[in-house]
Amino acid sequence: MPRWVMAWPALAWWTFFFIIPLFWIILYSFGSRPTAVAAGPVALEVLSFDNYWQALSEIFFRVFQITMRTAGLGTILCALLGFPVAYAIAMHVPQRWRSIFVFLLIVPYWTSFLLRTFAWRIILAPQGTLSDILQSVGILGRPLLILDTNAAVQLGIIYNYLPVMVLPIYVALERIDTSLIKASMDLGAGPLRTFLQVTMPLAAPGLFGGLVLTFILAAGDYVVPTILGGTKGLMVGNLIATQILASQNLPLGSAMAVMLIGLLAGVLIVAGLLLMTAQRLLGLLRGAPL
């Protein structure tokens, strides 16, 4: 039995639920709204770029910009918050307790994503707990007014995707042989230099995975902005959902989705290139060992 036989289920799943739908979305994006209801969701007799011209509106780019900012900032904050957590669990928690800590990270996921996000409405409400506490402590002079704004969306995104960031970093850190840390210290590097020269480079694949995963999920999210963002905290996902679900304009929604995919890919490629250049520069700065 050839080895690739085992890959069939995954391949089939991937093809039916990912490649083919993607192909349809791309095809739809070149179609137009059907004139008669009987003609199906999208008219494909005449294919054109009309939807893309329409999507290239000022509003799309403004929302796209906000989306990138929210997802980007969210990803960075998730990394800043998540790395120390992953580090602490992997490096300072004894082995037999580690799986319990990881389990605690995942426990919230047992509750519905929607419910957890809705719960934030209660916490963040102007008359809510957080607002009361901040006022009574004296940090705020008036009720907290971040619900249904971009700030609430930002918060919701960080909250929801933090574990997605922590887990791959944790896995990478956990796999680091502690004797490497000892070897580094033995060779004269203090804790900070050891962290920068040994721990970080070895954790980089996990960190990179966490960054990409979190960024993609956050950029495509539309549940959090829908629930916490109101009309002010709009993201591209909402725009696409509105076109498809509310306006019944599947071709325009598809064009926006395709543009989102393309732009996201572009952002990731640029980020990757920047990272590689930075690494190259750092290597040049250090000089060859021989």
Partner: protein, 365 residues
């Protein structure tokens, strides 16, 4: 000569377990010392305390006269070759070797020169740009050695560095390590549980048991004049015969009223003490006729074992105990299994020790 590394009444406890129990040790500058013992004897803990990875609960560690007991590893003039080599997987061989020099801020030109020299020293120059996962175990071992030695430490700590290598390569590395050590004049502290390795390489060996140094001495001294039955049994192979000392003489009354004569009794052996008499297999001779010596036993050859240049005879004694005898194969002649023989040995090769329960190598009743 001055002591390079000095341990003074050092102890380390892990909960109720005493890993190192009041050990004092002075290691001469430029010497090759092995810490030898079974696992859990505390030898690696001692090494980690010298390296700075473990803080002793009591006592003082000095390197070159300076108290370093509480000093961090990166502030000590010692380097370590780790058991699993601990090479940085994200750096190639040359970068691994350069790592320590980089931390010290050695200028680029000198750094390159020293890295090249270190790689050349371990004959790994042509593997300089290989990553650790592209190197064999023996090659990784050499890189680890170069990485530690390139910093020219006054003391090199080696934590069972040859454990993962196959026998042939291990013997080759033993010779190379020994040569390197005498060339460089660096103090080597070598941890091993392999007594052959320790005998082959060391100027002196500290035999450890239960967190204590049982005996410290040159290899030949430990082999010929072990202080306790444990050392006698741990270094080389040993036949032990239980019995009682006759008064405070060098005579021993063994099972079946056999009388044996020794030339040496362990220090502190009391009158009429319960003793173990020890004789090495190579000193047990075989004869067809009853020999005219006091130390003799009638035995049956239960098995013969070919050891290459030597032959080992497993002898069954009347009481059910076993006795080992070894001789050069040329001299072994025709002694078939099942043959009745006389086993005998000289008093010079027989030592008396206070009785103790030893786990292995003791003739089973």
């Amino acid at each position: 000569m001055a002591a390079d590394v000095e341990l003074e009444r050092v102890s380390k406890l892990y909960g109720p377990f005493t890993a190192v129990d009041d050990v004092s040790l002075a290691i001469r500058k430029g010497s090759f010392i092995s810490l030898l013992g079974p696992s859990g004897a505390g030898k690696s803990t001692i090494l980690r305390m010298i390296g700075g990875f473990e803080l002793p609960d009591y006592g003082t560690v000095r390197i070159a006269g300076r108290d370093v007991t509480m000093l961090a590893p990166y502030r000590r003039d010692v380097n370590t070759v780790f058991q699993n080599y601990a090479l940085f997987p994200h750096m190639n061989a040359a970068e691994n070797v350069a790592y320590g020099l980089r931390q010290d801020g050695v200028p680029a030109a000198e750094r390159k020169k020293r890295v090249r020299e270190a790689l050349d020293m371990v004959e790994m120059l042509r593997f300089a740009d290989r990553r650790p996962n592209q190197l064999s175990g023996g090659q990784q071992q050499r890189i680890a050695l170069a990485r530690a030695l390139v910093k020219r430490p006054s003391v090199l700590l080696l934590d069972e560095p040859l454990g993962a290598l196959d026998r042939k390569l291990r013997q080759q590395m033993q010779v190379e390590l020994k040569l390197l050590q005498s060339q460089l004049g660096i103090t080597f502290i070598f941890v091993t549980h392999d007594q052959e390795e320790a005998l082959a390489m060391s100027d002196s060996i500290a035999v450890m048991r239960h967190g204590r140094v049982e005996q410290l001495g040159a290899p030949a001294e430990l082999y010929d004049r072990p202080a306790t039955a444990f050392v006698a049994g741990f270094i080389g192979t040993q036949n032990f015969l239980p019995g009682y000392r006759v008064d405070d003489s060098l005579l021993m009354r063994a099972e079946h009223d056999a009388m044996f004569e020794a030339r040496r009794a362990a220090r502190g052996l009391t009158r009429d003490a319960h003793v173990l008499g020890a004789v090495r297999p190579e000193n047990v001779l075989l004869a067809g006729e009853e020999p005219a010596v006091r130390n003799r036993l009638k035995a049956r050859i239960a098995a013969t074992v070919m050891l290459g240049d030597t032959m080992e005879f497993v002898l069954a004694l009347p009481g059910g105990r076993e006795l080992l005898s070894r001789m050069p194969r040329r001299a072994s002649g025709s002694l078939p299994e099942g043959a009745e023989v006389w086993a005998y040995w000289e008093p010079e090769s027989f030592n008396l020790f206070p009785y103790e329960e030893l786990e292995a190598r003791q003739g089973k009743p």
